[in-house]
């Protein structure tokens, strides 16, 4: 549509559509989208009378200049990066695992069960909690996977349905079944404190290290292993993969379950590092933010890290804004705007503007080359 519009309107320029584009081009367009969104956000903030520069200075200072800020920043970045990895894995297979939120809660529940009821040396229990988190998330992802593979039910539907179910269950555990009656006020409606905590290394929390490791493992798997290659092919051209003999169904199964397991890990880390108690407040839409990160990162696992950190900064800015009396909505709207402009950028990256004069020159060159070939014969 835009092609025909531009091509008919301008006599000197032509819009050409190419099927793919280089990685660099993709980055340029994505980052331009972010810059434009930030400019729009700045305009919106300035129109309410606040100074955008001051605001961003405050945010950056509070985040990076204080030890507390840095620690909180990394703690917030952890679930975003992990859930981003989980979603990216699923997206590579064209599987839309929108159930990360639910898998997070179920994984954390398994970890809670272990942490509250089993005694032993902390490192052992933490490992058990980690495995429990993986198992919980994996089992919860099993339901939509089976329904998709056996009955053809879209996983979009089932995962969306399972999310609020898991959150209700978490509320049940926190407010009823395993409630710690000694809590009151804002911290009420949660379970007893889990006595095990993930170790931190200086300012970097253990969970962040796990997050980075997961991303690296994912990247290595996609770049260097047969399985990673299979997953990419099956996701891109399922029928071709089937024709060549790649195990499509088995791979879908594995990918969904691993995606759920990773989300479960993020739940366990939230439990062991941030809240130390299980309740419905465990996750502040970290699953959805992870989906955001994965979408922005495209198909590249390593890109999860920069995009995850960037979105974390945005969310952080939101909480700081909230403390200053401004609303969190600016940040949420900004996230949406970034997504929107990025998706447009993705499309635009396919096109290139080329002047008709240059095209004609190209054609003439090709004709000349053909002439030369023919004259040799």
């Amino acid at each position: 549509m835009i092609e025909t519009l531009v091509n008919t309107l301008s006599p000197r320029w032509k819009l050409q559509r190419r099927g793919n584009y280089s990685r660099l081009r993709g980055y340029v367009f994505k980052i331009s989208a972010v810059i434009i969104s930030l400019l729009i956000a700045r305009w919106a903030i300035e129109s309410t009378g606040e100074s955008a520069i001051e605001l961003s200075q405050t945010v950056l200072n509070m985040t990076f200049k204080t030890a507390f800020g840095r620690k909180q920043f990394l703690k917030l970045a952890t679930p975003l990066i992990i859930n981003g990895a989980a979603m990216l894995l699923a997206l590579r297979m064209q599987l839309f695992n929108f159930g990360l939120e639910g898998q997070l809660f179920v994984g954390a529940f398994a970890a809670t069960a272990i942490g509250l009821n089993i005694d032993g040396p902390p490192s052992l229990i933490l490992i058990l909690m980690f495995l429990g988190g993986m198992a919980g998330g994996m089992l919860y992802a099993l339901i939509p996977t089976l329904m998709r593979l056996k009955n053809g039910v879209s996983e979009i539907l089932t995962t969306l349905l399972l999310n609020p179910l898991a959150i209700q269950f978490a509320a049940f555990i926190g407010m009823d079944a395993w409630r710690d009656m000694s809590l009151a006020g804002a911290t009420a409606n949660a379970t007893a404190q889990i006595p095990y905590e993930l170790p931190a290394y200086g300012e970097i929390n253990g969970g962040f290290i796990i997050a980075v490791l997961i991303v690296i493992v994912l990247w290595l798997a996609f770049a260097n292993t047969t399985w990673g290659y299979e997953v990419t092919i099956v996701g891109a051209k399922m029928n071709a993969a089937r024709y060549v003999g790649m195990p499509v169904v088995r791979n879908m199964f594995i990918v969904m379950l691993v995606s759920g397991a990773i989300a479960g890990i993020s739940g366990m880390i939230q439990l062991a590092e941030v809240t130390h108690r299980y309740s419905a407040r465990l996750s502040q839409s970290y699953g959805w933010m992870g989906i955001n990160v994965a979408i922005l990162a495209g198909y590249d696992p390593l890109a999860i890290l920069p995009w995850g950190l960037f979105l974390t900064l945005l969310l952080f800015a939101g909480t700081i804004l909230k403390a200053k009396g401004m609303s969190l909505e600016v940040v949420i709207a900004l996230t949406g705007l970034i997504l929107f402009l990025t998706s447009l950028g993705e499309v635009l990256a396919n096109y290139r503007l080329i002047s008709i004069a240059k095209l004609e020159k190209q054609v003439r060159n090709e004709e000349d080359a053909l002439e030369e070939e023919r004259s040799f014969l």
Binding site: M1, L162, I295, E346
Partner: protein
């Protein structure tokens, strides 16, 4: 006991109307092959718009509805431009709309947060039918919008999709856009039209929520209703009539859970809260097991080209 049943049925129907408004819009869009995940965002914008107009300008609920519909149309047009004209990734844009809609509506809704809506829709009581004991009051004493949602929208949508030539064009665009294009149907225009229509419906649903259901606006008041509508649209396999039943079922289960909590049934209130989702999930499981043995008929399948943009190569 009677009043509880009556009240329960009444609330199921009023809440169900919300799902039906949003769902019918989404069904029409998905039939043409466009998946709009941003239902929540547009609902929020419609909702805030309705309350703003009513509280700040004209205390007439229909005006608020109209304003919301206009906003929905603009948002629908933007979405259509992005996904149908520019062919951006529908899931991305939809998610973006969900976020943006929630954020922007929260921002502009500041002046009217938690204030009661000044105008609402009058209830229309159908005299003879409403006198039926127990169910009469529940079924036939509603706003005009509710009657439209149950008696007009699904039937009209069903007839359009399955009984008209235009409906064939709609389904063709969703199932095989190349063939539709070859036979002269404008894939772009039909997708654009129904995507915009879906935007209007979402905003109307949002305005219905804030003007008639909750009678107030607060940030986050949409509270997942958009996602539930999306889920039920999938569940209904894009059949408007099935959507109504799905909405009633889900609303019924939710309502039962509330009644159970109030009546202090021996079942745990949280378990009751999980009931609607479990029931819907089980139903999906069973209906899909059945359908495997039945030849997919005209109202059974999901368009093959859902979410895929169409390029005329």
């Amino acid at each position: 006991m009677e009043t509880i049943i009556t009240g329960g049925i009444w609330s199921v129907i009023t809440v169900g109307a919300l799902i039906i408004f949003a769902g019918i819009g989404e069904i029409m869009a998905e039939r043409t092959g466009v998946l709009n995940i941003g239902i929540e965002g547009i609902m929020a914008m419609g909702g805030v718009m309705g309350v703003l107009i009513v509280n700040a300008y004209v205390p007439n609920a229909w005006f608020g509805l109209l304003a919301a519909a206009l906003v929905g149309m603009i948002l629908g047009i933007i979405f259509a431009l992005a996904t149908v004209t520019f062919k951006a990734n529908q899931l991305l844009v939809g998610l973006a709309f969900a976020f943006m809609g929630n954020g922007i509506s929260g921002l502009i809704g500041y002046p009217v947060t938690s204030a009661p809506t000044l105008a609402s829709f009058p209830a229309i009581r159908i005299p003879l039918l409403a006198d039926i004991p127990i169910v009469g009051e529940a079924l036939f004493n509603h706003h005009l919008l509710v009657y439209i949602a149950y008696f007009v929208l699904p039937i009209v949508a069903y007839r359009i999709i399955f009984r008209t030539r235009h409906g064939i064009a709609i389904r063709a665009v969703g199932d095989d856009p190349a063939a539709a294009d070859a036979s002269g149907i404008s894939v772009h225009n039909i997708r654009f039209l129904y995507t915009t229509f879906a935007g209007v419906m979402f905003a109307i649903a949002g305005a219905y929520m804030t003007l008639a259901l909750t009678k107030t606006w607060a940030e986050g008041i949409v509270a997942g209703q958009g996602w539930i509508a999306l889920t039920l649209v999938f569940f209904s396999r894009l059949n408007p009539i099935t959507l109504v039943f799905g909405a009633l079922l889900f609303g019924g289960a939710t309502s039962l859970s509330f009644i159970g909590q109030i009546q202090e049934w021996p079942i745990n209130s949280f378990v009751l809260g999980m009931a609607p989702y479990i029931v819907t999930l089980l139903l999906i499981l069973f209906t899909n097991i059945k359908l495997r043995r039945v030849k997919p008929d005209e109202a059974g399948t999901i368009p093959a080209f859902l979410t895929l943009p169409y390029y005329r190569e």
